[in-house]
């Protein structure tokens, strides 16, 4: 059992957890992830580690409610436990002094790209960051990102904060500004990462994305997370999760991530129904007592 030492919503449906996991905290490097399982009936899901502290033995993760497990996880609080947390898994990000790098974080992807951004800054890069969200509430980690960036740009789809538009609009601007950009790192929804790859391909700029396929064990054993990279199968859990964006077949990734859509929908509906029923009966108990 891994104890949650703190938990707080940082945006609607997005929660940050501090988890006591000393073995993982000791070894974690930027870009790596953990796999967790909430309880005996739980599935195993991969989540990127946002930060780790070797001294306190605590790691942090940022979780957006999407499916059943993330909804259930975001219902947990400080003092609760998570049955299994294993990691750190995957290869760490490649950190070098490249020169000028552009970091793109879309939605909850900003939290996932943050540790690598910080490491790139520490390595002496000039870091230009673009963080975006659908609206003002969904722009996260702005201050954290600002602290590790030379320049920070914010975009929202609806214009409620920062510049109206997509992160890729800002990226296009930077690419055309004439600045010598050596690396683009993008983490976010698959369509965003695909759009980034399309933009930088024309300019022949090395671009890295972090992929999120369906995964079970995370050690290379099952092959469920295989992705097509330059026409060849690779396992995101051990060969990734970061890959050269120009080589990634995003369409296959989208297709494979759809494999259990029906089951996922059913799981979430039944979970939400169960939660609603429990709340109802809790209310009825209260009223009965009255």
């Amino acid at each position: 059992m891994f104890r949650i030492s703190a938990a707080k919503f940082i945006a609607p449906g997005i929660k940050r957890f501090l988890i006591e996991a000393p073995r993982i905290a000791k070894k974690h490097q930027a870009g790596q992830f953990v796999i967790l399982r909430l309880d005996e009936h739980g599935e195993r899901i991969p989540l990127t580690v946002e930060s780790s502290n070797k001294e306190t033995g605590v790691i942090s993760i940022v979780v957006q409610s999407v499916g059943k497990t993330t909804h259930q996880l975001n219902g947990l609080d400080a003092g609760d436990g998570i049955l299994d947390v294993v990691g750190p898994l995957g290869k760490p990000s490649v950190i070098e002094n490249f020169g000028t790098v552009v970091v793109v974080g879309g939605g909850v992807g900003t939290a996932l790209v943050y540790p690598t951004t910080a490491a790139l800054k520490r390595a002496g890069n000039r870091v230009l960051s673009i963080v975006g969200g659908r609206n003002r509430d969904l722009v996260i980690l702005e201050e954290e990102m600002r602290a590790v960036s030379d320049e920070l740009y914010v975009t929202t789809d609806d214009g409620s904060y920062g510049k109206k538009g997509l992160v890729t609009d800002k990226l296009r601007e930077l690419l055309e500004s004439g600045e010598a950009i050596r690396l683009v790192l993008a983490v976010g929804p698959i369509p965003m990462m695909k759009a980034v790859a399309d933009l930088t391909r024309k300019k022949k700029i090395h671009t890295v994305v972090s992929l999120n396929p369906i995964m079970i064990d995370g050690t290379g054993m099952c092959g469920g997370c295989r992705v097509l990279i330059g026409g060849k199968s690779q396992f995101a859990c051990v060969d990734g999760p970061e890959f050269d964006a120009q080589e990634v077949d995003f369409d296959v990734l989208i297709q494979r991530n759809r494999m259990y859509r029906e089951a996922e929908k059913r799981s979430l509906q039944e979970y939400q129904q169960r939660v609603a029923n429990e709340e109802n009966s809790a209310c009825m108990v209260k009223e009965g007592a009255r």
Partner: protein, 489 residues
């Protein structure tokens, strides 16, 4: 411990014993069992076990024992069954085998003890596996006391991997008085016994009971530790103070066929398919969260002819597959699966497409699997394995309609430990090199065994390696001697 010899209480002459028929295993009827994941074999009753035990010829030279990778004293434990001393029979098996309820169910006895049984020259061999299982289940039912341990030696041994090799080594080492700590990457103890072998062949409850026994003996288990990632071998030895370490991480990465269409939805590796079903309980979705593609009314195939392949396709049948095929490129004679599994699969309506090889997986137009294009094979010259090499027959291509396929053609070595342990010698294919007698690796204090050394094999061969490792780890911890170059290969 001096081996105690039981006097025979078998009243029958050898001639009479030869005439007794082999007692068949009571089993769930095929049409029933394809609708559930309950165990196929129901186990001998006490009466059946005694009847079968009476068939033992009690040979002077026990070829059955010689052929057992862990050296179970077959004659002695069978004599104890005849004498009605069932708990003593269990204890006798446990002297050499810490997991009798498991090997009694999944060991390919035809390649070992039963294959070597003298009865087999004329009639059916003695049902040694069935008897072993009976005795182990009896012991579990009535509850046996935990065997005496040696005095604590103060030495600490780390075992990496909790599959058959790791468990077998851990059991032997803890008996010798060493402190044993087993690390497991997954969330459950048992390795292939829990993620690979399905419930209908090896109930998880049986595995848990055997592991609980090991806990009672003092073995410590830690799940969620991926050695090579969470902690390295060198850190375990230098920082966590282990005096010796046994690597038993098992078969590694799934090997795909390298043919077009393998990324289509519905194409699984056997590891993923079986892990979803066994470890993650996908057959109980939505009670358990992990799903698997809906196979009800579908056409499903497995590619491969080993036990893993049969486990996968028989699971698919239980998940409602209307048609279930085994596609195997050699002939039935070369199939590595246990005879009993092939028989059970046939009873369950599994169709065998032998001398057949898939060359392409076909898209259903929506990114899902629609079928496979296959080619007919014929057997040519003998290859390195001594088996006749299958070669494609030109122009024999044909299609099989499928909505799901499971690739069960083998695995390759997982490099997680090798790549993070400087100085650990590996073969060209990435398996860990050891001295075959002592299981010592090229790194001081480090031993290895099981599938990570031999590549995919069987539960019992892995357990044999675990026993050999435990013996030489004990020697090493007692004498402190480590040869400069331990690998004599």
């Amino acid at each position: 411990m001096s081996p105690t010899k039981e006097t025979s209480t078998n009243p029958f002459t050898l001639k009479e014993r030869m005439k007794f028929p082999h007692q068949p295993m009571p089993e769930q009827a095929a049409e029933l069992r394809i609708q559930n994941f309950g165990e196929v074999n129901l186990g001998y009753t006490e009466e059946l076990a005694r009847q079968e035990a009476l068939r033992c010829l009690e040979c002077a030279k026990c070829t059955c024992v010689e052929q057992c990778p862990v050296g179970v004293d077959v004659k002695e434990f069978v004599k104890l069954i005849v004498a009605g001393k069932l708990l003593e029979a269990a204890a006798k098996i446990r002297e050499n085998n810490v997991l009798p309820a498991i090997t009694g169910r999944v060991c390919p006895q035809e390649n070992h003890c039963e294959g070597a049984c003298l009865l087999h020259k004329k009639v059916d061999p003695l049902g040694i596996g069935y008897l072993e299982r009976f005795v182990a289940d009896y012991e579990q039912r009535v509850g046996a006391r935990v065997a005496q341990k040696a005095l604590a030696t103060g030495k600490k041994v780390a075992v990496v991997g909790s599959g058959p090799a790791g468990l077998s080594a851990a059991g032997d080492l803890v008996q010798k008085g060493h402190k044993v700590h087993v690390f497991e990457a997954l969330h459950e103890i048992g390795g292939v016994l829990v993620y690979g072998i399905p419930e209908f062949r090896l109930p998880k409850q049986v595995v848990r009971e055997q592991i609980d026994k090991m806990r009672d003996m003092g073995v410590q288990f830690e799940t969620d530790v991926v050695v090579g990632k969470t902690v390295t071998i060198d850190e375990l030895l230098e920082e966590e103070g282990y005096d010796a370490l046994f690597i038993a991480t098992g078969a590694g990465l799934p090997v795909f066929l390298g043919i077009p269409g393998e990324h289509l939805n519905g194409v699984y590796s056997a590891n993923e398919f079986l892990t979803r079903i066994n470890l993650m309980h996908a057959y109980e979705f939505p009670l358990y969260d992990e799903p698997i593609v809906d196979l009800r009314g579908k056409h499903v195939a497995v590619v491969g002819g080993g036990n893993t392949a049969l486990d996968a396709i028989r699971s698919a049948r239980r998940l409602g597959a209307d048609k279930a095929y085994v596609i195997y490129r050699r002939s039935e004679k070369e199939m590595p699966a246990r005879i009993e599994e092939v028989k059970h699969a046939q009873q369950e309506g599994i169709e065998f497409r032998i001398l057949t090889n898939p060359i392409k997986f076909l898209d259903d137009g929506r990114g899902g699997l629609g079928g496979t294009q296959c080619v007919q094979m014929e057997l040519g010259e003998r290859d390195a394995s001594g088996r006749r090499r299958p070669v494609p027959i030109a122009g024999s291509e044909f299609e099989i309609q499928l909505q799901a396929v499971v690739i069960a053609t083998g695995t390759s070595a997982n490099p997680l430990i090798q790549s993070t342990t400087p100085g650990l010698r590996t073969s060209k294919r990435g398996y860990i090199e050891v001295d075959r007698e002592t299981q010592r690796t090229s790194c001081k204090s480090v031993f290895a065994g099981g599938d990570i050394v031999t590549a995919g094999a069987t539960v019992i061969l892995a357990m044999g390696a675990g026993r050999r490792a435990a013996k030489s780890i004990h020697e090493y911890l007692t004498t402190g001697e480590w040869a400069e170059n331990p690998i004599k290969s």
